[in-house]
């Protein structure tokens, strides 16, 4: 059965890889794609990387995006706008815990909106 995908966006590729490892230890069957660092793997984020990650993470159930700081959010918003055909949502939760929780819920077969709502509720996020 296809699952909601997860995209981890961080200024540092190592942060994204670290979270991936942490989640994969418990959840294996949820698509998780990384968009850490710039195109040259320097500190920063890349719209292109985020767009590719969204496309790869989508199994038809949509994708949830998690990010770390500041400009990652702007790049994520632009990447979402530019991949219109895929249902993608950005969450303002803490990156590590939010993504972990979403992966667990996606693994249980929950739908995009339900995961989005429960992560936001858990971390009292503002509406974005």
């Amino acid at each position: 059965m296809s699952k909601v995908g997860i995209v981890l966006i961080s200024h540092s590729s190592k942060i994204a890889e670290g979270i991936y490892e942490l989640i994969r230890q418990v959840i294996q069957d949820v698509p998780i794609e990384l968009a850490g660092g710039t195109e040259d793997n320097e500190i920063g984020t890349s719209i292109d990387k985020i767009m590719k990650a969204i496309q790869k993470a989508d199994q038809g159930q949509g994708v949830l995006l998690f990010y770390d700081i500041g400009s990652a959010k702007m790049n994520a918003e632009m990447a979402i706008e530019m991949t219109e055909s895929i249902q993608a949502k950005l969450i303002e939760s803490p990156l590590v815990e939010g993504a972990y929780m979403a992966a667990v819920e996606s693994g249980m077969g929950k739908k995009l909106q339900d995961i989005y709502d429960s992560v936001k509720e858990e971390f009292h996020c503002e509406n974005s």
Partner: protein, 202 residues
């Protein structure tokens, strides 16, 4: 003023020259209130912009600006990438299909670019960001018969005034009161952009 395709390319060329020349300076500004990458980011982005523009031929000013936008978005890396990218995309959309741009169309386009930066970064005037240069420049374009020397002065004064502001948006905001006393890096790069424009319309 009037902006042709050649003028637009020249504008980017002059901006690139200034950014390459002042790369260290931009980075030094970003060092005190950020992560010291603004010079590197902008130098990389504009270098790619020039590569792109040199390799292509253009029929409209808006197509030049669209390529500038797409290149900056994907190559700059920091917050400045999506912000400058959005600004140029809005310029391009507003000036769609123009081969030559007159002053009032440019003023209108600049207004949309500023709205784009605000929409993307959720900042406003007085938060020590590039908007503190873009907004006064846009106001000047909407209210006046644009003169090159005045444009340069407005942009420069606006940049210098960011020194006294406290950053409440972007990475510099983590520095709180410590951000006061230094020119905002994005405002400095925006100054290079507009002083280059002034040179072009002279």
């Amino acid at each position: 003023m009037e902006l042709t395709i050649e003028d637009t390319i020249k504008w980017m060329q002059l901006t690139n020259d200034k950014i390459q020349k002042n790369k260290e300076h931009l980075t030094a500004l970003d060092q005190v209130i950020g992560d010291s990458d603004h010079g590197i980011n902008m130098a990389r982005g504009f270098q790619e912009v020039m590569k792109k523009l040199d390799a292509a031929t253009y029929e409209t000013v808006s197509d030049v600006m669209k390529d500038v936008a797409m290149t900056l978005m994907s190559k700059v890396g920091g917050a400045a990438g999506p912000l400058y990218g959005t600004a140029f995309l809005k310029l391009s959309m507003s000036l769609k299909d123009s081969q030559k741009v007159d002053e009032s169309s440019f003023a209108k386009a600049l207004e949309e670019a500023v709205q784009g930066i605000i929409m993307r970064g959720k900042a406003n005037a007085g938060e020590k960001t590039m908007l503190d240069v873009w907004i006064p420049v846009q106001d000047y374009f909407s209210a006046n018969n644009v003169k090159a020397d005045e444009l340069e002065t407005i942009a420069k004064t606006a940049m210098e005034q960011t020194k006294e502001l406290k950053a409440t948006k972007g990475r510099a905001s983590y520095f709180k009161d410590k951000s006061i006393g230094h020119i905002d890096p994005g405002s400095a790069s925006s100054y290079y952009l507009f002083t280059s424009l002034a040179e072009v319309i002279e």
